[in-house]
């Protein structure tokens, strides 16, 4: 079995792929103990890869100009040679779909099978974020439902009307996730049923007579504000959810579209939170598997050199002052370095490791330790837990204090004993999405009176919303809400109002 090469040279065919896959699967599942969804590997062309990019790697989407815009951007930069395409794209679904480019060499195909079909796949299946927030079994069906439903709406109500709702919902998609309490699983059947019931309810409740009733009931609503807010479930951080459920003016199909955007945003919610880990895991796994293939004589030296070349390209971390460097870390580099370091600490610990990581240093089980980390952490907690002094020294990390009242920047921590913990804390924090996402919440609305929607952005002075975008987004909120919307930016320490934006629905 281990005798003989899987392939030689750069050319591949489907038998080569299949042989490589089998060899890789043996190593991944038997030696590394990875647990993966069943794999589906699809070979595509460069042009199709551009299509896949456009939809954030979703295999199918509804139509919207923003995807066209992304397509144009990618296409332009690809055609001019500014950027090359990824070797693969992998989708968190069951079965797990990996796209391979036809241009890849045989070695690259093997490498990306190891990387995507086993590295990413294992991570998707086991990481708690993905287990908790996404439902790999249902996503493809749900996207299919979304596409059909939205196409149906376009036929019924016109492209422009659907686009208006989609634009607004997309603008709020960052504020369209439940950050707490886990996600309810997607279910195509119930979704279709709910949509049908909604329509039936509307039809049943329609009575033209109401239009002719003069005046209407006088409200004797003496509820205190607190009671009102309690009944509406305020404050609510999921703006799309609130609008979908409460907005007084939306048609039921508009609510369904908002729901679609919201659920897709929810599906993507874990991705940016675990980028370093996800890429680190996949890179570590492919490197390990390819090394084993080489050790067991299943790929030749030339192929292994190509692997080394490719991996070292991927894990390059430019310094802060080099082109491409800056505050943004290469997730492949950081993730791979940390995971290699964990492996080293488990097998060849130094005194320093024993002091810093007494629980894992020298435990002799690097695979178990890594699998535990992959399953139970996200970027922020992973860095806080596992970033070792060795990696800080390897990257020569330092921390800058940027105080706008000073004319200079202060270096307040470097890679020394005094600085390790400070650097680790700050770096971890920079991966905490709740730090970077704007905390905008619905705080009040009087449905019985002027129906003005009050939003609050709790923040700190000097960290206000980007004004033009905030106002444009607020107009989208107003369009969905149908009445005036006011956004207050509140200092979370002193409760002082830092800024106020308002928007009226157009043509209302």
């Amino acid at each position: 079995m281990n005798g003989g090469l899987l392939y030689s040279g750069a050319d591949w065919d489907f038998r080569t792929l299949s042989r490589s896959y089998d060899a890789i699967e043996r190593i991944a599942c038997e030696e590394l103990g990875l647990e993966v969804y069943p794999n589906r590997i699809e070979v595509i062309t460069a042009e199709q890869m551009l299509d896949v990019y456009t939809a954030h790697g979703m295999p199918l989407t509804y139509r919207h100009w923003s995807y066209g815009k992304r397509f144009l951007q990618h296409e332009a930069s690809y055609r001019r040679g500014y950027s090359s395409l990824a070797y693969e794209v992998v989708i968190n679904s069951n079965p797990c779909i990996s796209y391979l480019m036809e241009e890849n060499t045989a070695t690259m195909q093997a490498l990306v099978i190891a990387h995507a079909a086993f590295g990413h796949n294992h991570f998707f299946r086991n990481n708690h974020l993905f287990r908790q927030w996404t439902d790999a079994d249902a996503i493809i069906d749900y996207l299919e439902f979304a596409r059909t439903f939205i196409a149906g709406c376009e036929d019924r109500y016109g492209v422009a009307a659907v686009e208006r709702v989609l634009d607004a919902a997309h603008a709020l998609s960052r504020q369209g996730v439940h950050r707490h309490g886990g996600a309810r699983p997607l279910n195509l059947k119930t979704d279709q049923k709910r949509e049908r019931e909604r329509r039936e309810y509307d039809e049943r409740m329609f009575d033209d007579l109401w239009r002719t009733v003069p005046g209407g009931r006088t409200s004797v609503d003496t509820d205190p504000i607190g009671e009102r807010r309690r009944r509406l479930g305020l404050p609510e951080e999921n703006l799309l959810y609130f609008i979908e459920k409460i907005s007084p003016r939306l048609q039921s199909w508009e609510r369904e579209i908002i729901r679609i955007v919201r659920l897709i945003a929810q599906y993507f919610y874990p991705q940016p939170q675990a980028k370093v880990m996800n890429e680190g895991c996949a890179t570590w796994v492919h490197q390990r598997i390819m090394t084993r293939l080489h050790d067991t004589g299943q790929i030749d030296d030339a192929a292994f050199l190509e692997v080394l070349h490719s991996t070292s390209n991927v894990i390059t971390q430019p310094d802060f002052d080099q082109p491409g460097g800056g505050v943004n870390f290469n997730p492949y580099a950081l993730g791979y370095a940390m995971m290699t370091d964990i492996e080293r600490m488990c097998t060849q610990p130094t005194e320093e490791d024993r002091a810093w990581f007494p629980d894992i240093a020298g435990n002799g089980d690097p695979l178990g330790t890594l699998r535990y980390a992959w399953a139970n952490f996200r970027d922020e907690s992973f860095i806080l837990q596992y970033l070792s002094p060795a990696v800080i020294r390897q990257f020569r990390l330092f921390r800058l204090m940027d105080d706008t009242s000073e004319t200079t920047l202060l270096v307040d921590a470097i890679h020394d004993d005094a600085g390790y913990r400070a650097i680790r804390r700050s770096l971890a924090r920079s991966y905490d999405t709740s730090e970077s996402d704007a905390d905008v919440q619905v705080v009040d609305v009087d449905l019985a009176a002027d129906r003005r929607l009050i939003l609050q952005h709790r923040t700190r002075p000097g960290r206000l919303l980007a004004q033009r975008d905030a106002e444009a987004t607020l107009r989208h909120v107003a369009a969905l809400w149908g009445y005036e919307v006011r956004l207050q930016e509140i200092d979370s320490d002193s409760d002082a109002v830092l800024a106020t934006h308002t928007a009226e629905p157009q043509g209302a």
């Binding site: 070979v43 002052d321 505050v327 990257f395 307040d412 000097g462």
Partner: protein, 429 residues
């Protein structure tokens, strides 16, 4: 595990999305187009320069915070020389309110930039002309239904009997017959004769037996190896080659007499350019003919047409006659779509106008797709409805919808005039 080859799947999944981008940017495109024309860059547009459109309408806003003041901490890689307590000056662009660490400024500014994308010339022009349509669409339908003609394209093994290539087929047949040693008829006849002769004479029985065997073999061979076998057949192969049948010729007629100022010529030129660009959209091939005239008319090249000044009087009918001569010589009506654009300041020698109108009505208007007459004038010089040529053409244009006439006095009038001339006529045709 499945491996699926998706390469053959339909491509261009994003065409629909791309078109939505374009239609969303349509307002911006129209704006850019008008600007391009107003600023006189239509010539470059015509030569295929891409137009960049600032697309605010393609902005995707969201709530996101920007760091403007206060304190923050950044972790960076690649420390070579700093130790704790060092102070660095702020990198460029990071001063004042937008304080930022190295490279951080770019990250913060990201959401603010408008998205820009470049339309190809074709897309630009498609948008530009989308609401324009040629008035006479009879011949224009050819553009959509492509005409193709069969052309020889080698030989094939099968085909209809009428397309058999005899000489090739026979050559192959002969080669096969020789190769398989099919006996020729004279040889067989010779054998038969010899056998008959031997039988008659009765001598040499051995020879007779051998000859009979030989004849037997030859006859069997003759039966086995056919004269023409299906493998010999060769047919002439034809493929359909699309024919560029949608051809148009555009005649530019211009008065270059002394009364035409440079500015007027400039206006006329813009009109011609626009018309040319427009026709290029419609037809696979557009030929240009430039005819200038004073008292006499001549065909010139484009350079001369627009730049070489002339002096003299004005006799319009000479240009019309020259047009007719060239058209008859080179552009027969049944295979060319003929467009004429005439630019003039309206002056004509008064005795000639009647003749010009007569030529127009009798000879020209029946054969052209469209005749656009634009009268250019320096803003104040034109007296409404009073130029010789205008007076002459006016009644004609009432009768013949193919003749369209407009006045242009300023550069920015060109585009509206152009839209007028070729704009979709609401259900009049």
């Amino acid at each position: 595990m499945d491996i699926i080859d998706r390469r053959a799947n339909p491509h261009g999944k994003n065409l629909g999305n791309r078109q939505r981008v374009l239609s969303r940017a349509r307002a911006a495109v129209a704006q850019a187009a008008r600007k391009a024309i107003d600023q006189g860059t239509i010539r470059e547009v015509g030569q295929g320069q891409a137009v960049t459109i600032p697309a605010d309408s393609l902005n995707e806003p969201s709530f996101h915070t920007v760091f403007t003041s206060g304190q923050r901490q950044l972790v960076l890689p690649g420390n070579r020389e700093f130790s704790t307590g060092d102070r660095l000056s702020r990198p460029r662009g990071g001063g004042g309110g937008g304080g930022s660490g190295s490279g951080a400024g770019q990250g913060d500014a990201e959401g603010e930039d408008g998205f820009r994308f470049v339309l190809t010339r074709d897309e630009f022009l498609d948008l530009f002309f989308e609401d324009l349509e040629l008035p006479d669409l009879v011949k224009n339908q050819i553009v959509n239904v492509e005409i193709s003609a069969p052309a020889r394209a080698g030989i094939s093994m099968d085909g209809s009997p009428s397309q058999i290539d005899m000489s090739r087929t026979m050559r192959r047949s002969m080669a096969r017959r020789i190769g398989l040693r099919r006996p020729k008829t004279p040889e067989v006849e010779a054998l038969e004769e010899e056998i008959a002769a031997l039988e008659e004479s009765g001598a040499d029985a051995d020879r007779l037996v051998a000859l009979r065997a030989e004849l037997d073999l030859a006859l069997r061979r003759l039966a086995r190896v056919p004269w023409i076998d299906p493998v010999d057949l060769r047919y002439r192969r034809f493929t359909n080659v699309p024919k560029p049948s949608a051809r148009a010729v555009m005649f530019c007629l211009m008065d270059v007499s002394g009364s035409m100022s440079e500015q007027m010529k400039d206006l006329a030129k813009r009109f011609f350019l626009l018309l040319h660009v427009f026709l290029e959209r419609r037809y696979k091939r557009v030929e240009l003919v430039f005819i200038r005239h004073t008292e006499v008319a001549e065909e010139v090249d484009e350079q001369t047409f627009f730049t070489d000044p002339r002096t003299g009087g004005t006799v319009v009918s000479t240009a019309l006659a020259e047009f007719l001569r060239i058209q008859r010589d080179r552009y027969p009506q049944d295979s060319w779509n003929i467009y004429v654009a005439q630019a003039s300041d309206g002056d004509n020698s008064s005795s000639d106008t009647r003749q010009a109108v007569a030529i127009m009505e009798a000879d020209i208007l029946p054969i052209v797709q469209h005749f656009a007459y634009i009268e250019v004038a320096a803003s104040a010089a034109m007296i409404r409805g009073e130029t010789d040529l205008w007076r002459g053409y006016e009644p004609l244009s009432q009768r013949a919808p193919r003749l369209a006439m407009r006045r242009v006095s300023e550069r920015r009038d060109i585009f509206p005039v152009f839209r007028d001339l070729f704009g979709r006529k609401a259900a009049t045709a």
